[in-house]
Symmetry: C2
Subunit: 140 residues, 2 copies
Amino acid sequence: MDDISSILKEKGLKVTPQRLAIINMLKNTKEHPSAETIYKTLSSDFPTMSLATVYKTLEMLKNIGLVQELNVGEGSFRYDANVNSHPHLICYGCNRVDDLDYSALDNLIGEVSKYTDYLLKDQKLYFYGYCPDCKKKMTN
Amino acid sequence: MDDISSILKEKGLKVTPQRLAIINMLKNTKEHPSAETIYKTLSSDFPTMSLATVYKTLEMLKNIGLVQELNVGEGSFRYDANVNSHPHLICYGCNRVDDLDYSALDNLIGEVSKYTDYLLKDQKLYFYGYCPDCKKKMTN
DNA sequence: TATTACATGATAAATTTTATTAATTAATAC
DNA sequence: GTATTAATTAATAAAATTTATCATGTAATA
């Protein structure tokens, strides 16, 4: 029994092939896919997968803290199985989303709390620009 | 001739009552309204206002840099006539969105650029939690 | 004031997400 | 291993948000 299966069972949730496929796909990519992308990717190996199942599974995984939802400013959400609070980089050129490895920003809440009466619980940091590939294309 | 009118004219855009109403509303609120909220608010004074006009005007204002679009993780976007890069606070309880007055974070791009090959142009920082009102309600 | 090009308003269409429900399947007990 | 049952899935409809279309209206200019 792997990690994910036992977590689902502990929460009283059934372990289904669809759920495992979705969480495994998210764990094995750095691409921060949308629900639609997850659906299309899994459809080839999983002809019976339904988009509604993808949405419901993502909602469930978000609720039990196995994935985080990113709002990078498109019309749709993207998902990340790395639930650590880490900043993201978004490319204006190709819309790709990368993780930023710079842990100094991972916990700004403590600092920010000094300047507001909000009781802060989470943060999302997005940096926009051009990825190395698109940067190269621009100068040509 | 006020500020906004001259900016629009410089860009070769027509100055219409609808456009002035939308930008003025945004300039006079701290509430970060959605397109729907802007539409409903202006409808009383402006019975002929169309939701499509609100969307098209917001798109235009965004393009010429007079408003910024926020994606705080709801199903819709919110708009801010303060185009300075400043962090936002979002309340889990009442979904209100506030500005954070803490300019130390206003320009993290320079710092972050040292740790990525992206050519960075903009940043969006969101802090989530409970506003003073909702915090108070929780402890009761 | 007339002309013209752009903007508006009404509506349709597209896109993303959520809700509904019958059929299926995982988990449990036997 | 099989039957039971309760949760999950799949297909679809519906809801919500945003964009596109196009005839009409209006701002800007002469």
